[in-house]
Subunit: 323 residues, 2 copies
């Protein structure tokens, strides 16, 4: 019987699953399932976690009894002691659901949960852009701004698992109100929605309406006349982000920053000013900085998650495998 | 023959030495020697490091052959691979001196060097205000502003040993010029000399000259008429420091801050606004923070230093002793 463990990335839109056999080699590719909404959390867990796992088990002619453990990347806040979901901002149905116990009881195997940005950081560390680095910061700029810290070659999560919450570092006390209720958080000034809002504002001031764009991605595709406003809003966002990253570099003596998330797909309009401004900041403080794009894309979370369970079952060793 | 190791704190004004026997118990109290200036670095090392050690060896009827290793807290920048002093801002004579090799060759024992703020953090962790904490930040506000980070129960030093250099995080781009040449570093706005400069400026604007004060400590003793200006400058410094600490808390998910350094001796004029403003920041971001004064005072550095060598010789274990 083949022994294996499972990496899961549970998001509000998609669930990603991959399988690794116990030597650390990957079994097949990461498979993506669209998240299926149901009436109860239990039904959603059955439908979006258990069924996909059992489907892959069957497809690969594995035996479910060979499953040694599950590592899970979750976008929700959870209790690190119990594995209960505290709050999933994108799906209130799961609030309070005893996710970890449910799966533990069902499969009688260890379950490990971790924050999505932390899992992505781990994934990039194991076999992505950050392979071989001892200290680095992974930042995802998307609907929110998340961050994972690898320090001394290990994931650093802090007292409550909240380390790296850079999205809610206050950058300007008089900045826009953030979803969290505080003014001027980085997220309210440099995330995808923040860049979109600012682009719309700048365009509107110039008499151009792009109100029909409800996602930043739509602006990327937009005609030339909007380009200068997108450029300016990306430059402003890059300035705030660079300011924060430069502080991270100074505080943590890190020189590598791995960048992921949908906003990086804007390409040079965002990446060029970010690179330039960040290098300026680093130069001023006499520090070096290397900005790299995440390599594993949307798969970093499942790979990080599977590493957590591998580590748990292998005396704290990370997966050392050829991907 | 009693086996023991030595903790040293080499500062520009004083050298502090303590001895621990190999079980981790302290042999006598920490002894302070004033730093004696000589013509060469070698003479200064002999006079300020070797002689004090040999003096204590004799006083305690120990045998120098029982010395197993030296841990050293240094205020200088040094090369972590070679143990050479790169630059000691307060004593140029030592720049380039192969300090670690010199002592290794002389005593044929391992020598471990560490930054002074890092050693102080370690000292407070081993047997001071931070005993039992897994994650905390130690901040010293003095002539400069230094910081040591204990993360996951271990000293975190970063890629080059520069982690925690919060004194040179830029707080205001239009702030005063710092000694490092950059504008608006925290150190230029919240250190002892910065508070002194600002108090003088405020007093001067009100027609009072306190130019004869060349150290902040002198202002603490000053007559009532200066009190409002000292209060204001301390409040301003506390605001900058709180702003930075609140970012540290958010980034590292830490809730304990240990404060040391001469400026804390100003007492409530500095500590009261710092506590209040910091709690306000933490409250806004929904985080908890506990601000404690360092407990070991000027001895934290030697105790941290001795722990480094203890750890080196004891498979990575920290000293567990009753002080």
């Amino acid at each position: 019987m083949v022994k294996f463990f499972v990496g899961l990335d549970v998001g509000a839109t998609n669930v990603r699953v991959n399988f690794f056999e116990t030597q650390g080699n990957k079994l097949g590719t990461t498979i993506v399932f669209p998240f299926k909404q149901c009436r109860t959390a239990t039904e959603e867990v059955e439908s979006n976690i258990c069924k996909p796992i059992e489907h892959i088990v069957q497809e690969n002619q594995l035996d479910i009894k060979g499953m040694q453990g599950i590592g899970m990347s979750v976008a929700a806040n959870f209790d690190r002691k119990t594995g209960d979901v505290v709050k999933w901002p994108n799906n209130g149905l799961w609030n309070g659901f005893k996710l970890s116990s449910y799966l533990e009881n069902k499969y009688r195997i260890p379950i490990i949960m971790e924050d999505d940005a932390n899992c992505a950081a781990l994934g990039e560390f194991i076999m992505g852009s950050a392979a071989g680095l001892r200290n680095f910061v992974y930042i995802t700029v998307s609907t929110g701004i998340g961050c994972g810290l690898i320090l001394n070659g290990d994931l650093y999560t802090g007292n409550n698992g909240w380390a790296g919450e850079i999205g809610h570092v206050v950058m300007r006390k008089d900045g826009p109100i953030c979803k969290c209720g505080v003014r001027g958080c980085l997220q309210s000034m440099a995330s995808g929605p923040a860049i979109l809002r600012r682009t719309k504002e700048l365009a509107k001031n110039a008499g151009i309406s792009i109100d029909e764009c409800y996602k930043l991605e739509q602006v990327f595709e937009y005609p030339e006349e909007v380009a200068p406003y997108l450029e300016q809003s990306c430059r402003e966002a890059a300035e705030y982000l660079s300011e924060l990253i430069s502080k991270l570099i100074m505080i943590l003596d890190i020189s590598d920053v791995i960048l992921g998330g949908g906003v990086t797909r804007a390409g040079s309009v965002f990446m060029e000013p970010l690179n330039r401004i960040l290098k300026d900041y680093a130069h001023c403080s006499g520090r070096k900085v290397t900005l790299k794009l995440a390599q594993l894309g949307d798969n970093s979370g499942t790979i990080g998650a599977v590493n957590l369970i591998y580590k748990h079952l292998n005396n704290g060793d990370d997966i050392k495998t050829i991907y």
